[in-house]
Symmetry: D2
Subunit: 174 residues, 4 copies
Amino acid sequence: MKKIALISTGGTIEKTYDELSGLLANKVSVLDVMLAALELRGVAVQRIQLMNKDSLEMTAAEHTMIAETADRMARACDGVVVVHGTDRLAESGERLVELVGTPMTPVVFTGAMRPYELRNTDAEQNLTEALLAVQLLRPGVYITMHGQVLQFPGVVKDRQLGTFTRPGRPERDP
Amino acid sequence: MKKIALISTGGTIEKTYDELSGLLANKVSVLDVMLAALELRGVAVQRIQLMNKDSLEMTAAEHTMIAETADRMARACDGVVVVHGTDRLAESGERLVELVGTPMTPVVFTGAMRPYELRNTDAEQNLTEALLAVQLLRPGVYITMHGQVLQFPGVVKDRQLGTFTRPGRPERDP
Amino acid sequence: MKKIALISTGGTIEKTYDELSGLLANKVSVLDVMLAALELRGVAVQRIQLMNKDSLEMTAAEHTMIAETADRMARACDGVVVVHGTDRLAESGERLVELVGTPMTPVVFTGAMRPYELRNTDAEQNLTEALLAVQLLRPGVYITMHGQVLQFPGVVKDRQLGTFTRPGRPERDP
Amino acid sequence: MKKIALISTGGTIEKTYDELSGLLANKVSVLDVMLAALELRGVAVQRIQLMNKDSLEMTAAEHTMIAETADRMARACDGVVVVHGTDRLAESGERLVELVGTPMTPVVFTGAMRPYELRNTDAEQNLTEALLAVQLLRPGVYITMHGQVLQFPGVVKDRQLGTFTRPGRPERDP
């Protein structure tokens, strides 16, 4: 049985709809609902609800806290998945590489462009991919989304395409 | 851009409901609908619709044809995903190992316990996992389902649990 | 607050998937799940789980029991909805007209051609319509499905179209 | 075959998600997608896309235009459904009563508290109810939502409950 830590920090993937205000916001975590819909064999998921924020509102201290938590859980588990808002996801990823270089076990960031609450969301695909990739990758810091695995450092969000790229480098270090 | 062959052979995952007979059967392929719902970056999927059968009805010749097609596509692509009925999936996987040992690129089998047509299906999870795993695994023959990757030979269906295991061995060869 | 009795008898609408046998069958009632997904104001629904059968297997005594239960609840409530398999739905409807002519309050039968468990089901549409129609119709025996209200006697299933018609008559008595 | 006009004006029900801005807005009409998911027998729906606005942004002239269009279509069809933002839905309904008193055929307003794009929406329920109610009601101006039919004048939105009521009056005129 593999032990995977699942750290949630908020972001679009976890936004829910408030019908009185008519707005999408980070209020309650939907990750437990998403996990319940997956059938996971041979994996024990340990949930860490760190924060629930739009990443545009994260401070430098919060990026550091996310990186430190990921590093600590990487020592205690066989791998770590971090659910994060896409706008500043790369900041937390780069911070982790700055702090520890290569963590003890793989740390895979993921997020979504369209909240889980939407009928047409990429949240389930991305969480499914992250939970699988974290079992197959060697220690390092990665993002998995949209059928693609990219390794930090050097990952950036392509705001036009609504996804991530690693300009001028291979997807993963050899 | 990675080139992945996606071979469909039928099975529960592709069963659709016929409202006049009230039965689930393998008639049309739903894989294209499933693919359209995924957001895939950096992957070009080549579809091969080989057959659309409940695997309980597959002949020895058909298992061999599936294995040979997977081997041929493994030479032409960066990886192969085979969608298959779970009841006889292991036969096709073992046949491929018998025929070629280790194919040129990874061949990942997958399927589902509950058809895509159902509200509560494992089809999307399993296809998502297979399309990701095939990019990360080294050459070999595997099954990916329910958050787990197992390597042939030696994989069997656990009919009680409704999933696959590899008794008395590690998940993957070292 | 209107009091509506909701009698369930089974049928396609309530069929669920058994992943070990690979078959759809009437085992547990999904009506409570369906009700929980609706937002109902001004209506108190009283659930009566009478049986859970494919209507092709109903005996004459069971059709009579359904009709008698509907008549009894029509005396106690402001209206009655009966969820029924479509194959023999008309038998129960005609039986009710034979037994009591016009019940005290409206009795609306409904069902589905595709189980609620399917992604592409007509179950929610038909239940929603029946719960609304029963509030607006005058006392009588009806079927509501597929955006249409038809009055008994004289309703038959059109097995080609997969819906109901009332040949040679207006939809409802004037 | 009944002829029903379906007038869309926008509102929460038609809001879609823009993944680049992360906001829900009225851009494209989703009513055609919703209609395609319904199975409608004996009803011919004529679509009129009048505008696609959050009703909080409607001007007095627009409320009048909606009322006049509904009145005109009520003369040409067997009934009219108007999809409208809930915040100012009552203004358009009252305007129609002021202008024509009782239209030639029933006019049924509806909307949603949660956009169709959400997994957990009331849009399908409310549209289904409106399309059924318009066939059963006598000429008048109504709102149908959440399993309830209320007649204008005198309908108001209850912003606490997120639904409509008709304070101090029966649901419908006798």
